[in-house]
Symmetry: C2
C-alpha cells in the first residue's frame, strides 16, 4: 500500500457523497485525511467513516487547501468550486455535467478509456450514470465488431434524482395503497405505480437532456463521433439501479454466443443470462453491487449484424460513486496526482 | 339501432371478461340476451350488468346453443370450447393465442385491418394486448412511408397477468413498505419496486413468447411478412396500461411533424406530445380509457428515415376488451353474423 492521500468529498451528505464514503472504505482506499464538505445548511452534521465520526464543513474555496483529490458529488457547486480546488493543487473528480463535454477535460470510465486520465489538467469528469452503465458493455463489443448504431431505452430508478425522490416514491406508494391523495413535488407527475418518459429538461430537438447525455458522452468516451445512438429515458418506480434495453448494430456480425463470451471476459461486467432458469439482471438484485449486469443477449433477427442486450447496474455505485473512486485509484496507480 | 344479439362471455369473472361487460354497456352494444360463463368454480356467482344481475353458468359445449357472438376472455378453454361455439352457429371472438396465427382465422384490429373480418369461418382472433397497442400507430405510418424495421421495448402492467397479479403487486408493495419478507407466487421474482425482463415462457431462440407475439402477430395483421421487428418485453410495477418505446425506420423519410399529423388524423389514436409542458402519455393517466396514446414523437438522428415514439394504452381496454367489442360491432355493421 502506498502512502495515504488527503481527500475531500463535496456533497458528502447526499446520496452519491454517502456512497463515495462507503466505496472508499470497502476498497480500502488509502485515505490520510478526509474532509466532508457540503452546503452551509449541513454544516456541523456528523458522518460516520469506519470508526471515525467526521464533522461536515461548509464547502468554500479555501476548503481545498492541502487537498489532493476532491470528489464533487453535488452538481450545484461544481462550476464555482471545482476551479478553486484545482487552483489549490487538488485533482477534482466531478460527478456533475458541468465539464463533461469540455475538450480539455477527460471523461473517464476506467474499464473503457483509462488512458484518458493521463491528459487531465486538474479536472476529470465522471459520466452520467446511465452513460457509464451503457458504455461498459458497449466497449468490448465495439472493439470486437465495431458498433455502428445503438437504440437504447433506459428505465431509471428514482434514487437517480436524490434522496428526496426516494422519499417521494415511498410516500406516494403508501398514499396510493391507503387510498389517499397524491401530490407530486420532486417529479412532475405521480411516480408511484407510474412511468414518466421525462428525465431532466427537454431540448429544442425534442430529446431530454438525459437522452442527449447518453449520445454525446458515449461518443466522447469511445472517441467515436461516428457512433450513432438514439435514446429514450424513462423514470420508473424502482428505488435503485437503472435498467437499459439496448439494440445494437455492428459492422462485423457477432453471434449471441460470441457476444456473451466477449462480455464474460470484459472488465466490470457480470453476465447473468440463463432466462429459462429465470436468470437475467433485475434492479432489485443488482443494487448495492458494483458490477454492470448483462443478460438477455440475443441475435436481433430483424437485421443482420444486430443484437439485443438487457443491462442493469446500481447507478449510485458503478453509475457514480464507484466509478469516481476507480478514477482516483487510476490516478494513484499512474502517478498522476 | 338494429336488433339485439344473443351474446356469451366466457371467462366473465376475469379481468378481461369484466372489462368486456363494461365496454358492452358503455358502447350501448345491442344485447338481446347475455350469458356469463366461467369455470365450474365460479358457477352461481352474481355479476352486475347495468340494472340486471346475471348468474354465472359453467361454460360447456351446450352453453352456446342460440348464441350469436361468443367472446372468449379466458385462454384456458378456447381450444376446447371455441369450436363448440362455432359448431352451434356462434361467431367466436377469441382473446387467447390459440388461433391467432392460424391462416384460416382473421386476426383483427378494427382500425388497422377491418376488411379481414370478412374472411372469417366462425372464429376471429383478438391479438395480444401489446400487439394491438403497437399496431394502431404503426399502421398509418406504414401506409404513409412504409415501415421497414422496428425496435420495440415494452413495459407491461401487472394486470396483463390477471387480477391475482394485481393483488400480488399490491401485497408485495405493502410488505416492502412495512419491512416484511416478500414471497413471489404469480411472478417468478418480486415485482414490487422491481423490473422483470420476462413475460410468458422463453423459446429456443432466446426470445420470450410475448416478444415473438409482437413480431408474428404484427406481420399477420399488416399482411407484411417483410416487416422486420425485434422486441424486448419487460414487466413493470404498474397496475394498468402498457407502455412501448418504439424506434422505427421507414422507406420514405418522415419528419416528426409529418408523423405527428398522420397520427393525429388516424383512428383510435390520441396524440399527447408537448413534453416541455409536461405532456406525454403515462400509464397512470391512460387507464380505463380506450385510446392508444402517442407522444415523444421525434426524429431519430442516428439514422435517416427513423423516428422514435412513446405509446401507452390500457391493455385491458383497447388491448383486449374494447378491441373484441369493436370486432363484434364490425361483424354487425358488415352483416357477417
Amino acid at each position: 500500500m502506498s502512502r495515504g492521500f488527503n481527500i475531500a468529498i463535496v456533497g458528502a451528505t447526499g446520496a452519491v457523497g454517502q456512497e463515495i464514503m462507503n466505496v472508499l472504505q470497502e476498497r480500502n482506499f488509502p485515505v490520510s485525511d478526509l474532509k466532508v464538505l457540503a452546503s452551509a445548511r449541513s454544516q456541523g452534521k456528523k458522518l460516520k467513516y469506519g470508526d471515525d465520526e467526521l464533522t461536515v464543513l461548509e464547502a468554500r474555496p479555501d476548503s481545498f487547501q492541502g487537498v489532493e483529490i476532491a470528489f464533487f458529488a453535488s452538481g450545484a457547486v461544481s462550476k464555482e468550486l471545482v476551479p478553486e480546488a484545482v487552483k489549490r493543487g487538488a485533482v477534482a473528480i466531478d460527478n456533475s455535467s458541468t465539464f463533461r463535454l469540455d475538450p480539455d477535460v477527460p471523461l473517464v470510465v476506467p474499464e473503457v478509456n483509462p488512458e484518458d486520465v493521463e491528459k487531465h489538467n486538474g479536472i476529470i469528469a465522471n459520466p452520467n450514470c446511465s452513460t457509464i452503465i451503457f458504455v461498459v458493455p458497449l466497449k468490448p463489443l465495439h472493439d470486437a465488431a465495431r458498433v455502428k448504431r445503438v437504440v437504447v431505452t433506459t428505465m431509471q430508478a428514482v434514487s437517480g434524482a436524490g434522496k428526496v425522490a426516494v422519499d417521494e416514491l415511498l410516500l406516494q406508494t403508501r398514499q396510493v395503497l391507503d387510498g389517499e391523495k397524491v401530490q407530486p413535488h420532486v417529479f412532475d407527475h405521480q411516480i408511484a405505480f407510474n412511468l414518466i418518459p421525462h428525465i431532466d429538461v427537454f431540448l429544442d430537438n425534442s430529446y431530454s437532456k438525459e437522452e442527449m447525455k447518453l449520445v454525446n458522452e458515449t461518443q466522447k468516451i469511445l472517441h467515436d463521433p461516428e457512433l450513432q445512438i438514439t435514446a429514450t429515458t424513462v423514470r420508473v418506480p424502482v428505488l435503485r439501479s437503472h435498467s437499459e434495453s439496448i439494440n445494437l448494430e455492428t459492422e462485423r456480425e457477432l453471434t449471441a454466443d460470441e457476444a456473451r463470451e466477449i462480455l464474460k471476459g470484459a472488465p466490470g461486467i457480470i453476465v447473468r443470462d440463463d432466462p429459462v432458469n429465470l436468470e437475467y439482471p433485475m434492479p432489485l438484485f443488482t443494487s448495492e453491487k458494483d458490477g454492470v449486469f448483462v443478460g438477455r443477449i440475443r441475435k436481433d433477427h430483424s437485421r443482420d449484424q444486430a443484437l439485443n442486450l438487457w443491462v442493469v447496474s446500481d447507478q449510485l455505485r458503478k453509475g457514480a460513486a464507484t466509478n469516481a473512486v476507480q478514477i482516483a485509484e487510476l490516478l494513484i496507480s499512474k502517478n498522476l496526482l
